[in-house]
Amino acid sequence: MGLTVEHIEKSFGQLHVIKDLSMEVKEGSIFGFLGANGAGKTTTMRMILDIIRPDSGSITWNGKDMRDIPRHNLGYLPEERGLYPKVEVQEQLLFLARLNGLSKTAAIEQLDEWLERFEIPQYRNIKVEELSKGNQQKIQFLATILHDPLILIMDEPFSGLDPVNANILKDAFLEMHSRGKTIIFSTHQLEQVEELCEDVVIIDKGQTIIRGSVREVKRQQGRNVARLKLDNDSEALWLDALEGVQVTKRRQDYIEMQIQSNLNPNLIVEEALRHGAIISRFELTEPSLTDIFIERVGKATLQDASPAIATQAGGMK
C-alpha cells in the first residue's frame, strides 16, 4: 500500500500552489520526487509530513490518515539545512532523537553506530558551525534517521556534496532501503534517480505531469536514443538530413540523437558506412530522465514564463 496522495489542493491566499496532485509510493521503495524550482515539492513534502494541511484531498499511509501516524515514524530532511550552529554534534542529535521518541540510551546507541558508519566519530563534541559543509550535511542526515523512522522524506539530500560524500550518503540510502524504509527524495541530479529509484513523479506548477516506474516513464516517451562515434568524422553532418533522426548533442566522445520508434536503427549504420565512416561506437539506449525532464518541464515552463522573461529582459535594458 504505502503512501497514497490523492487529489490534493493547496492555496496560499490567491496563489494556487498545488493543483490536483496525486502520487503513490510503495512501502519500502525509493521514490524520486522531481520538479523544477518552485514546482511545489517542498509544499507537498510538508503536507505529507502533516506540517501543513492540504485544502482538499487526502494523504494516507497504508490506508490510515497521515494525521494519525505518530510523528516518530517520519524523518524529514528539509531543503534549507538547519541545525543549532553553536551546539555540539552529539548534544543536538541526542536532543532531536529524543524529541522524536527515542530513550536516551537508545539514542546514544544509534548515534554511536551511525557516527561510526559515516566515519565521523571524531566530530562528536564539535560545534556544527565548525564543520565543513559536507560533514554538516552528514549530521543533518543523521538528524533525519537517528530515531529510525519508517518513512524518510528528504528535500535535495545530495546538494552540495562532493562525490565521495555523495557515495557515503548513497550507501546510507541503500542501507535504509535494505532495512525496509520508504524513502522519498527530491533532487536535481537525475542520474541518481535513475540509479536509486524504482518510481518517480515529475511535477510542474503543482501538477503531476509524469508518474510511474522509471522504466515505464522512459518507455512512454515513444523514442529511443542512439549514440554514435565515428573515428574519422566527428561531426557527421549528414545525420541532420536523415528523416526520423534528430541530433540532440554533439559531444567530444559521441553524438547523441533521438530516433523515432518506427525507424529501424540499422539505417543509421548503413548510412554511416555509405559515407565511408569508421564506426567505433554505436549504441541504442532509452532517453535519460534528464532529457525527459528538460523536454516536458522545459516546455511547460517556457510557454508559461515567457511574459515574465520578457519583462525581465525589458528591465535590463
Binding site: 496560499f12 490567491q14 496563489l15 500552489v17 518552485g38 501543513i52 538547519g82 524529541l99
Partner: protein, 473 residues
C-alpha cells in the same frame, strides 16, 4: 488574509509560501505533549546556562553585588584604621570648671570626645588623645600646633566671676575640619555643667537636666495601617529595588526568548523541530526553559546579595568591634512578604511578556531583525515602568490604581503600591488572577501567530493581518 498583487509566474517560490503557512495543530505529536515540553525545557535551560555569555555576565553581576554590599563595611573599616589620633592639648587657665580639676577635666574630655564618634573597637586607638595642663606659656604650644605635632590646642580662660571662655587653635583646613564641631559640642555641654554647678545644683539635679523627654511618633496616614517607620522605609526601598529588578529581568529574559525563536528560524532548525513537536510545545518549552534559567540567575543574585549583607555583622565585629545601628539590615516579616510577592509578579510578568516576545520572534526572518520587531513590546513595558515611578509620589490616585489592574503594567505598578502600602490584600489577589487569565489569552494568541510565523520567511504581516491570523483556527 494573504493578499497578492504579483502574478504567480514572476514570484519566486520562497515568497509564494510566505503568506499564511500555518503549521497544523493537534497533530499526533500531541500524544507526547509533556515529554516533548520537558525535553525542550531541558535543552533550553542547559543551552542557556552553559552559554559563555550567560556565565560571564552572571559572574560579573555577582562580583558587583558582593562588592556593592560590602561597601559600607569597607568604608567603615578604612575610616577606622586610617583615622589618625588627634592630639588635643587643653590649657586650663580657668581653675575649677563645673567642679572638676585638671585630672577630672581630662577624663571628662576624654570620655565625651571619644564617645562622640561611634564605630571604634577597643583594639584601635581612640580618635582623641587629651592632655590637660595649666600654663601661661601658650606660645610654645601654638608653635606645636603650627608644625602639626599637636592637632588641637584649646585654651580655657575665666575672667573673674564670669563664664568660661574657649579659644581653639588649629592649622587644619577649615572646610574639612570635623574636630572643631566635636570640640565645640563638648565645650557647650561643659559650659552648661559649669553654670549648673555655679547655680549650686547637685550632680543628680544636673543629670536630670539632661534626660531625654519621652517622645513617640504615630503616623495616622490612612494607608499605612499603623506600620512602623522602619517598615515603611524598608517598603519603599524594596519597592524601588523590586521595580527595577522586575523591569530589567522580565525585559532581558523576554528578549532572550524572542532571540531564541528567531535563532531557530534563522538557522532553519525550526523545519526539523516542527516535524518532531508541535508549535505549542516548542513555544511553551522555550519560555519555561529560559524562564527557569533566568529565575536561577536571579535567585543566585538575591541569595548572594542577602548573604553578603548578613555575613557582614560578624566581619564587622571582628574588624571594628561594635555594630552601628545605621548599617543594620532589618529584614522584617513585611519585607519577606514583599519578596515573595516580588517573586510571584516576576514569574507572572515574565510569562505574560515571554509569550508575546515569542510571537514577535516567530515573525522575523533573522535574528538581527528582532530588536525592531519587539519595539512595540518595549514601549508597552516602559509605560508600566514609568507609571510606577511617577505613581510612587501619589500611590492613591485613581489613575495609578486603574493602571495597576492592567495586566501588562501590574507587576511594576502593584509592586510600587504594595511597597508604599497603598494596596490591600484582595487587590493583590485580584491582580494575580487577572494576570493568570491574561497569560492564557496571550498564550493562545501567541501560539497561533507562532504557528504561522515559524515557517514564514517573507514579508512581515501587518498588525491587521496578525489579528486575523489570531482569530483563525
Amino acid at each position: 488574509m494573504a493578499r497578492n498583487t504579483v502574478t504567480p509566474s514572476e514570484k519566486p517560490r520562497t515568497e509564494q509560501e510566505t503568506e499564511a503557512v500555518a503549521v497544523s495543530l493537534a497533530r499526533s505529536g500531541n500524544q507526547n505533549n509533556l515529554r516533548n515540553i520537558g525535553l525542550i525545557i531541558e535543552r533550553e535551560f542547559k543551552n542557556r546556562v552553559t552559554q559563555r555569555s550567560f556565565k560571564i555576565s552572571t559572574a560579573i553581576i555577582l562580583i558587583l553585588i558582593i562588592i556593592g554590599s560590602f561597601v559600607p563595611t569597607i568604608v567603615a573599616y578604612i575610616s577606622s584604621i586610617s583615622n589618625s589620633q588627634t592630639k588635643v592639648v587643653v590649657v586650663n587657665n580657668a581653675g575649677t570648671v563645673a567642679g572638676m580639676n585638671n585630672i577630672a577635666l581630662q577624663q571628662y574630655f576624654n570620655a565625651t570626645l571619644n564617645a562622640a564618634t561611634p564605630g571604634q573597637s577597643a583594639s584601635t586607638k581612640p580618635p582623641y588623645l587629651i592632655n590637660t595642663v595649666t600654663t601661661d606659656a601658650i606660645s610654645n604650644l601654638q608653635k606645636q600646633v603650627k608644625d602639626g605635632s599637636t592637632g588641637v590646642l584649646l585654651v580655657l580662660n575665666r575672667p573673674p566671676g564670669q563664664e568660661v571662655q574657649y579659644t581653639y587653635y588649629t592649622n587644619a583646613d577649615p572646610v574639612r575640619d570635623s574636630n572643631v564641631s566635636n570640640v565645640q559640642g563638648v565645650a557647650a555641654q561643659l559650659t552648661i555643667l559649669d553654670r549648673a554647678s555655679r547655680l549650686g545644683l547637685t550632680p543628680e539635679q544636673t543629670s536630670k537636666l539632661f534626660t531625654q523627654p519621652q517622645f513617640s511618633t504615630v503616623n495616622v496616614g490612612q494607608s499605612q495601617n499603623n506600620r512602623s517607620v522602619s517598615d515603611i522605609v524598608a517598603g519603599y526601598i524594596l519597592a524601588y529595588a523590586g521595580i527595577i529588578l522586575i523591569f530589567m529581568s522580565v525585559y532581558l529574559y523576554g528578549v532572550t526568548v524572542a532571540n531564541g525563536v528567531a535563532e531557530e528560524k534563522g538557522s532553519r532548525i525550526m523545519e526539523i523541530l516542527v516535524n518532531a513537536a508541535t508549535p505549542f510545545q516548542l513555544m511553551t518549552g522555550k519560555i519555561i526553559g529560559i524562564g527557569a534559567a533566568g529565575l536561577a540567575q536571579m535567585t543566585a543574585f538575591v541569595i548572594v546579595g542577602i548573604s553578603a549583607l548578613l555575613i557582614q555583622n560578624p566581619i564587622k565585629e571582628a574588624l571594628i568591634g561594635n555594630n552601628s545601628a545605621a548599617l543594620n539590615l532589618n529584614i522584617t516579616g513585611n519585607s519577606i512578604t514583599l519578596l515573595l510577592i516580588l517573586l510571584v509578579y516576576f514569574i507572572l510578568g515574565f510569562l505574560l511578556y515571554a509569550t508575546l516576545f515569542a510571537a514577535m520572534g516567530a515573525l522575523v526572518k533573522r535574528q538581527d531583525e528582532v530588536q525592531n520587531a519587539i519595539q512595540p513590546l518595549t514601549w508597552l513595558f516602559m509605560i508600566g515602568y514609568f507609571v510606577s515611578f511617577f505613581g510612587i509620589y501619589n500611590p492613591d490616585a485613581t489613575w495609578v490604581k486603574v493602571v495597576s489592574y492592567i495586566p501588562f503594567w501590574t507587576p511594576t505598578t502593584m509592586l510600587m503600591r504594595i511597597g508604599v502600602g497603598s494596596a490591600t490584600w484582595w487587590e493583590i489577589l485580584l491582580t494575580i488572577v487577572i494576570m493568570i487569565v491574561s497569560i492564557f489569552v496571550c498564550a493562545i494568541f501567541a501560539a497561533r501567530i507562532y504557528r504561522y510565523g515559524v515557517l514564514m520567511y517573507g514579508q512581515k504581516p501587518s498588525m491587521r493581518q496578525l489579528f486575523k491570523i489570531a482569530r483563525m483556527k
